[in-house]
Each structure stands twice: as C-alpha cells, then as structure tokens.
Symmetry: C2
Subunit: 414 residues, 2 copies
C-alpha cells in the first residue's frame, strides 16, 4: 500500500480523489499496490465527503507523516504551493502537480531538489490537461532533436476565437458566453492576455531544450484586440486566427519563443482544433510533425493526468524517473524584436493607393488581401518574413504617415 | 556503457544505427550511459558501412554475448524473428521491436517470457511509427477506462484513399502511384486488404484491455472494392472514406473489434488526416477523446520510436517496466455479425421506386443520399444502426429481389 496526500480539494483535487476511488481496481492492476488517500488538505470543510475523516487544514499532518510517499499539489497559485512542494521534496516525498504557474516559475529549482533527494517531481497535468504531452516529449521523442513546438494551449481563448470565427460573435460577446459557461474566470486576464499559454509553452520549451525558460523572457500577446474584421481577413488569406504558443530552436541553439494570435492556414492540423480543445505540434528531426489533441482542461481530464503521474511515482519510488532541466538566466532566448515572422496588417487611411505605395516601400513585397466588403480607406496585406523589430518600426512609420495600423497579427508558419 | 545488438539492417534497422550514431550526445544526456552498437545481424554484406566490422550473419554472436543487454529486432516477419526474440528474452536480454506481425501473433507469450525473466519487451514502433501511442496508452491514460480506440493505422491505404478523394483517381491508379512512390509494396495485399491495420488494432486492443486479441478474431475488410461513386456519396453524406481499425468495449466487457473502410464525418478529427499520415483516437472515461497524429511509417520516424524504447530499456535494466497483457482465447471478442453499425448501401435496379420501398421494408428507416449525377437505376442510402448480420441478410434479400447491392460501407460513429 502506498499512502498519498492531496493538497487542495478544488476542481482538480476532487477529481483526483474521485478517480482514485472509482478506478481503484484498474489502478491496482496496473501498479500492483493499493493507493490509499491518507490526507486531503483544504481550508474548507467537506463534512459530506466520503473521505471526510481524512481532511486536514494543517500541512504539518502531511509533511510529518512518514507513511506519506506521494504528495499531490493541486492548490494552484505560487503560495503556499511553492513552499509546501519544496518541503515535501526535501523530505524525499514524491510530488505530483497540475500547477503550471508553479512549474513555469520554479520548475528548475524543484527538479534540482527532487534530484538531490532522489525523488520525483512530475507535472504531466500542467500542460494540455488530459492530453499526454510531457511524457511523450520526455520519453517517446527522446531520440529527436526537437526543432519546434507550437500549440493551442489555452482552451478558453480557443473557445472565444472559435465563436468569433464560426458564429460571428465579437470578442466581448464571446468572452461573456465563455464566462457564462464557466470556461472563463470572472477576471479573465490570465487566459485572454496569454499568460496561461505562456506558462505552458515555457514548460514545454524547458523540457525540450533542457534549460528553464521563464515566462518573463517570453513576448506575450493576448487576443483582446482581435476583431471580426481580422477574422474575415484570415479567412480571405485561407486560414483562421488561433492563439499560439510557439518555440523554435535556431541554428545557433538559441530559442525564439512567443505567445501571440496567429493566422494559421486551413490545411494545418492546428486549424481544425476548435472550442475548448487543445492541440500541440512537436516537430522532431526524425519524426517530423507529431500532433497531440484533446481536452486541455476540466476536472477529470486533468485529474486523470495527475493520477497517471501518481502511478509513475509508485513505480519509481526507489528508482527516480529521469525528468530534468537545468536552471538558466534566459540568455538562450533571443530578443523578441529579432524574431523573424511574416505579418498581416490592416490599415485605414484617406487614400488606399498611397497607403499601398507606402507599405510596399517599407515592407518591399506585400500581398494585398482583397475584400469586397472592405471599409472605406481599408487596406489589408501580408508582408514577407522579417524581423519583428523592423515590422514595429514600419508600423510606426505608417502611423506617422497618417496610415493608421489597426491590426497586426503574425502569420503562423505551421 | 550499454551494448546493443540490432537484428536486421533494412529500412528501420539502418535508421536505428543512424540515430544511435548521429544523436549520440543527446541520448547520452538523457540516459547517462553510452549506447554501443556491438553487433548488427544481417545476411547481406555492408562493406562500406561505418560499422562494417560489427556486422555478423550468425545469431549466436548475439545470443552468446553476455555483454549485450538490449537486442533490437527489426527484421520483420514471424520467422526467424519469433525464435530469436524468444531466445533473447529467455536469456534475460531486453528486446525492442518494430515488428507488428510478431507482436500481434506472439505478444502475450513474449510478454510472459519477459516477465518471467525480469526483462523488458517493448514495441512502441509497432503501431503508428513515430507517433507515441503505446506508452501514452500504457502510462499516460492509465487512470482511464478506455471505451474505444479508432484509428487510421495504415499510411499506404490512407494515401490511396486521399488520392481517390482529392484527385478523383480510381483505386488502381492510386495504388499504382503509391507503388511508384515506394509507399506500397509490389504485392500490396497486407496493406490494401487491411491485414496491417488489423495487426495494429490488435496490439492496441490487447494493451488497452489487458488480454491478447489475435488477428484471426478480427473481421477485416480492405479498400479494394471502394469506387469513386462511393467517394462521391461519402461527400454527399458529409464525410470521407477512411480505412479504420476500431475496438470498442461493450457494457458486458466484451469487445467489438473491426477493420473496415468507413464513412467518417468531416467534423471528426480523423477526417482531416490525409496522405501517408496516421491518426489514432483513444476515448477514455476521464479524458474523453485524445488524438495522436503523425507519420505512421518511414525509416527515421519508426527508428526514433525504436530508439526511445532502447532508452527506456537502459533506464529499466534492473527494474522491469510494467507493460503486460495476458494470453486469451479470443472469447472476449463478439461475433462480427453481432456488431451494431449504421451502413451506407449503393444499389442498382430496374426501378428505383420499388428498390426504395424494398429497402425501407427491410431496414425500417433509411436516409436516401440524393445525387444529381446518379446513374440510371442507382439508389444510395444510409440505414440506422443494426446488427451487421441483419445487414448482411438484408443485402442478400435485396440481391435476391433483383436489387443489386454494389457497395456496403460502415458509418463510422467517430
């Protein structure tokens, strides 16, 4: 029998205890040991819960219990999760978490502590919910040099964009619907400004390249400025707008990492991923593109990934699993202004002919997106790939010439 | 240092040695041990190969070498692969294979021998080439009861069908193109008759349900009878024809397993998987649908999956990985005539009005597929889900009434 403690009894935590109870037999068959939930840490009371007698409000009940081999952290947020996880690892307990904020901010340090104490720190559920992605990158694709990872990593924004694309809702309307359905929080900033996707691409990039990449090194744009006009032009261009987290290794081994809305061609496997679903493409030098698709969030999908990690901990209680990346100072990340990308721009001016000439002068070759229902003075075009800093300079130059740039969205080369 | 022997220097085998040589540093970093190719078994000579001195024609050089911990079997076919693998496992050597024929025919026996000898028998590359699928089902989705697995498991037939759908080639023309491009063998039977897909769905089903399901228990249809008329009616229905390997667990825990061409709705994630790509959907009770997509064959994708298994063997040389299913007598598989499915039928008769009446009488409710370019006397329709045996009886009854059933294709509920 292996004793488990669960810290946090919210959406994911209640899912974890539910799966451990309802799938008892299957889990026993796969691991040959009974999993016993010994403590559940939560500040709230759950007197009706079948495990009501196991609840505690005191972390000391867990950290001081030598029977507890595996601790599940599903509280979310940095504090007190960070402190609790660190203490558990220092005591040699294995820790499983779904907390992407914690892993993105403290992954390298916690992995090092786990290594030093010959124990495991696993976090399959922190990216992609129930979609297997951490283990496949770490194990199945280990014989590949990963050149690029790109994904739809946030279900809430994908739901909003899908409603804008398929049903013509504007951003505010789609956000409200997402909130009404419980997909978006009352304060939706972490989702719609791209912070959640940023944490996830940081975790994947750190894993793929072996060095921690911290969220503050990643140029991050959200979807709040996307309009239905942009959705229409994406369609004319032959694609859809998706919020993409993307990391690419350059020939000098530096990494180009960004979170931003992008035009994705319809033929891309990521273009058809709609609603709250996530999809992650991993490009390896041997495998080429491999895509993982599924529900990126939700109680049971996320909890089932946590339980898979618990099982892995049980199998590796005495024989640490190799999952590691080193700390870094973010020096491998190139400046976002050096990142090369093609770009869609939508401008409004008094005179589209001279706007066209000015744009062509600045961007060299441009491809105009023709639209029958274009507003008066509107010119939309796609420029060739160039440094993002040059694009920003050109946008300034356009604005200074009375050609107002209303939208600028990257072209996703996927 | 860990010594590896590779049996077979064909497409996959040469890819394995290539990756072990070119990715040496990355592999060393992930496992902390050097991987040394000590023997390569092949009956042919490769005097120009950089490892020419390691080639042998004698299996005894491998089986009797106590330094060899891991043996890679990439010869293909049942003989002598089966005998060689068995001998290696009996000597406690770990075995990695890409040989789906071997795993589908002898998996249970070889897994038992591996277990008895505390060693590993791994086969990630046997299904889906470079797509991670065995490990995700075995580890990541372990906390799920898998209700269904369905996939496009054969790249050759998917290429042929894609050419038929997108370019209007007929089957023979598309097959010839696949052969000219090296995607199909000169004798294409194993692919086009569905045997290859059958082996793969047997492996996935055995893994998901813990009991070996042998290919001879699986009702298997290929794509040789698919016509461009059927492709057109699939489009009218709102989908495409794909060769699907599918297994479903029924409420009584029996399994319904089949390989057959199916109409797949355009909205399905499997509908957009084209050319030689594979896609596999795993439906879990916690995760819902998870889809894995990528190159299902080819030298480096398949070899990279083999190398990932080699790495896993190195990590588990003394601590066997848990991957197992029991032998069985196929009694969990329901008779294919009991399998419930909706069906598309295309009939030709002298009188479509009476054909419609007869079909409606036999099938109760039918949904006619209207086509402007239907041939004289042609009637195409989709029936409600019913037992496949009943459908076969109804087809006989139609044929006996002078209503010739030219096509009958399952509706994939995906």
């Amino acid at each position: 029998m292996v004793s488990v403690a669960i810290m946090g009894h919210g959406v994911v935590g209640s899912g974890v205890s539910e799966i451990l109870l309802t799938h008892k037999q299957k889990l026993f068959a796969s691991v040959g040991e009974e999993l016993y939930i010994k403590h559940i840490l939560d500040l709230r009371d759950f007197p009706e819960h079948p495990l009501a007698d196991r609840f505690t409000k005191d972390f000391n009940d867990i950290i001081n219990d030598i029977d507890v081999d595996i601790v599940v952290e599903v509280m979310g947020g940095l504090n007190p999760a960070y402190d609790f996880v660190k203490q558990c690892l220092l005591k040699g307990k294995s820790v499983v978490t779904s907390n992407k904020e914690l892993v993105a901010a403290k992954g390298a340090e916690l992995l090092q502590i786990a290594k030093d104490n010959n124990t495991n720190f696993l976090f399959e559920a922190s990216v992609g919910g129930g979609i297997p992605i951490i283990r496949p990158i770490n194990q199945c694709l280990v014989a590949n040099n990963v050149s690029e990872i790109a994904g739809i990593l946030n279900g809430t924004t994908n739901f909003i964009l899908t409603k804008m694309i398929n049903e013509g809702m504007d951003f505010d309307e789609a956000l409200k619907l997402a909130q009404d359905l419980g997909y978006a929080e009352r304060n939706p900033e972490a989702d719609v400004e791209g912070h959640d996707a940023c944490r996830k691409i940081c975790i994947l990039a750190s894993l793929a390249y072996g060095k921690h990449i911290y969220p503050d090194a990643v140029h991050t744009q959200g979807i709040t400025k996307i309009t239905l006009d942009d959705v229409k032009y994406a369609s004319i261009w032959g694609g859809v707008i998706k919020l993409i987290g993307k990391v690419k290794q350059l020939p000098d081994k530096k990494v180009d990492i960004v979170v931003a809305p992008m035009f994705i061609p319809n033929k891309s496997q990521l273009a058809n991923i709609d609603d709250v679903f996530n999809g992650i493409m991993v490009r390896g030098d041997c495998t080429d593109d491999v895509v993982f698709y599924g529900k990126g969030a939700g109680k049971l999908p996320t909890a089932s990934a946590v339980v898979a990690d618990i099982i892995d901990c049980v199998k590796h209680l005495k024989n640490r699993k190799y999952l590691f990346w080193a700390d870094s100072d973010n020096s491998s990340v190139i400046d976002y202004k050096e990142s090369v990308t093609a770009m869609y721009l939508r401008t409004v001016s008094d005179d589209t002919a001279s706007a066209y000439n000015k744009a062509k002068e600045l961007f060299n070759d441009i491809h105009v997106l023709e639209c029958d229902t274009a507003k008066e003075g509107e010119l939309a075009f796609v420029c060739e790939p160039m440094a993002y800093g040059t694009i920003l300079d050109n946008i300034d130059a356009l604005n200074n010439s009375g050609i107002k740039v209303e939208s600028a969205i990257r072209i996703g080369d996927l």
